[in-house]
């Protein structure tokens, strides 16, 4: 049998990447280009009128205090959700990493929120936080004699959305942390114990640094999750309200597109989001390995 000489065939590498290029072009690049084009027009509902407007949509967005507030709000939301979420998940993963009886059941319990859809998760939280018949207010009333206006006050609604999003994404984080924890060899812990380190020192000096590759990956994934996937939870729980307190960028985009019927404005917002995600990805590639401790 004759050995194939791939170098002599100029087209082979191109043929090999062709299938994935076709898929990427159809489902990623083409829609992206369409969005960019759409963002330069003002379009009437039903597409009956289409007027070229240059960068007007972008100018309108950045001069609109509602949009600027929404950007800031989203940044705060993403930061709190990611750091809160990762901290809670890390603690929980250390707990479910113990060799306990029935540990698989506990792990499953913590993973379930990730498996349900955002819509269901949002509805569950609405039931729990309901001011009239909600369980959370019932217990708060019983224990501390307070009634919290969860979804009708801007501040508490924002907190409620953060809690729901953290709870929803916890399963994903726990799975990765658990895998990370289990890949840290026991010998490292043993020698630390022999040297007389206490539990906190072990956690601080061994577990956290050795988990850093996982943590870094999770931060990037969580940024993307919280920007894009929190939409379902916001839509069910608060619809961006009260008084815009939970109107994060992805929800505003949805509303401009599907409720206010301004495709041009919505397309401009999606282009801005795309640029933001590109920046995150750039940092991921460029600084991905710095400060991250690989064993």
């Amino acid at each position: 049998m004759k050995e194939q000489d791939y170098d002599s065939h100029f087209s082979v590498p191109y043929l090999l990447i062709l299938p994935s290029m076709i898929i990427l072009t159809l489902f990623l690049y083409w829609p992206t280009i369409q969005s960019v084009i759409l963002s330069l027009y003002r379009t009437a509902p039903f597409g009956s009128r289409r007027i070229y407007s240059g960068f007007d949509n972008y100018i309108n967005l950045f001069t609109d205090p509602v949009y600027r507030a929404s950007l800031v709000r989203s940044a705060v939301f993403v930061l709190i959700t990611i750091f809160g979420g990762l901290a809670v998940s890390l603690v929980l993963s250390v707990l479910v990493n113990q060799k306990l009886k029935g540990i698989k059941i506990y792990r499953t319990i913590f993973f379930i929120p990730y498996a349900i859809s955002p819509t269901v998760a949002g509805s569950l939280w609405v039931f729990l936080l309901n001011p009239v018949a909600g369980h959370i207010n019932y217990f708060l009333d019983l224990l501390f004699n307070v009634q919290v206006p969860w979804l009708t006050n801007g501040f508490f609604a924002f907190i409620a959305i953060i809690i729901a999003t953290i709870w929803k994404n916890m399963g994903f984080n726990i799975i990765f942390f658990l895998a990370g924890l289990q890949s840290i060899p026991d010998s490292v812990y043993e020698s630390a114990r022999i040297d007389g380190a206490n539990a906190f020192q072990i956690f601080r000096k061994i577990t956290v640094p050795l988990l850093s590759p996982t943590t870094f990956y999770l931060i990037i994934m969580n940024i993307i999750f919280t920007i894009f996937q929190s939409f379902g939870i916001v839509d069910i729980m608060t619809q961006g309200g009260p008084a815009d307190a939970t109107n994060i960028v992805i929800y505003k985009l949805y509303r401009d597109m599907f409720v206010n019927f301004r495709p041009g404005l919505a397309a401009a917002q999606s282009v801005i989001l795309l640029i933001l995600v590109l920046i995150v990805t750039f940092f991921h590639f460029k600084y991905g390995s710095r400060g991250v401790h690989y064993q």
């Binding site: 509902p45 597409g47 009956s48 309901n130 001011p131 009239v132 018949a133 599907f258 206010n260």
Partner: protein, 445 residues
Amino acid sequence: MRKFSVLMVVVLAFILTFSAAAQEPVTIEFWHAMGGYNGEIVNTIVDRFNESHDDIQVEAQNTGSYNDTLTKTQAAVQSGSAPHIVQIYEIGTQVMLDSGIIIPVEELGREVAQDDSFDWGKFLIPVSNYYNVNGQLNSMPFNSSTPILYYNKDAFEEAGLDPNQPPQTFEELKEYARKLTIRNEDGDVERYGFTLGIVGWFVEQMTANQDALLVNNNNGRGEGRATESYLDQEPVVRFIELWQEMVDEGIMLNPGRGWDGAKQAFLSGRAAMMIESTAQVTNFTNNAENDGYELGTAFLPRPEGVDRGGVIIGGASLWAVRDHPEEELKAAWEFLSFLSEMEQQVYWFENTGYFPVTKAAVEHEMNGQFFAQNPNHLTAFLQLLLSKRAPSTQGALIGTFPEVRQIVEEAVEKTLQGDMTPQEAMDEAASRVDRSLEQYNSLFE
């Protein structure tokens, strides 16, 4: 011989199938936003139509909420697969008129279907007034409702109020709510006097009830389009003020945005009065019977000394899409005309609580003693019929109405949270609406 007869049967079956295919009925796609129980009623009516019309097959499809239905229709139009008939909420009227895709039902009936027997005056005037623009009926009125005040008569008696004297003015509403509110020894409210969901529709209705306009140019029904909103004027602001004062005083429950919270509070006895759609009359009456209290209904309150305007018809209507073969348009007309017949109207009304929209159906219900036996339905009806005939109660035509509603809802939330005074919030809302109108109108210059 046996084999031969089997073969004959098979051949016969084939012939029958193909001959049936040759006379395949015209298929009409009908998109609607009626879910749950009301959706089943729609399906029953569609089945009745299909059974009585061999040559037409109507396929009804639930396309989600009103807003989803409008969105899906837009997408379908752009991909060339629009339905024949689509149910659009009343605030989508201007968008549909501007869409360039619809055929006004009056043109459909008169010119395409050449239906001379159809009586265009059969609709109740407050209903047809809303959908009559540019001198013709543009869409077929379908599910219509208005808001009314619901109250718990037993709670009135407990509080020493006359259950047959519901509040008529803003001042009375507040005074009654104060008396109806019950606090426990800790000072927590056990029962609120009044509740109202944050829904822009109520603001529109309370404005019309004071015979005031929501936007300029005769509510957008005059010479030109609406260009300026009146949200910052007294009729709107004083209602928002009342709302904020009552919530602040703790005599009114703020259940947040949307319909469900307020409804739940009223039905569970956490609030003694509320304003809701007349489409809930049957539901609320049944609930009161099951829970053993008496339900009262009344017209919407208005400020003391202000003349009564009335209510605007809410709900949705059916629009026909032009871009279909003539044969299919005729079939669509056949279905729309069937829906406006008395029998269907009565069935629809008695099962869903939405108003019958034709005079014949109302007469039938009068003769059948329906209103005598259901006084709460009578309240709903009288309020509509006694409404003044003016642009204020005809309802506003605004191209960006869904957005306007949201702006209003946000403004209400801002005042209830104490971020702004009612006047400040409505000033801001008015300027946002003006900007939205300007951007929309510039597309159609």
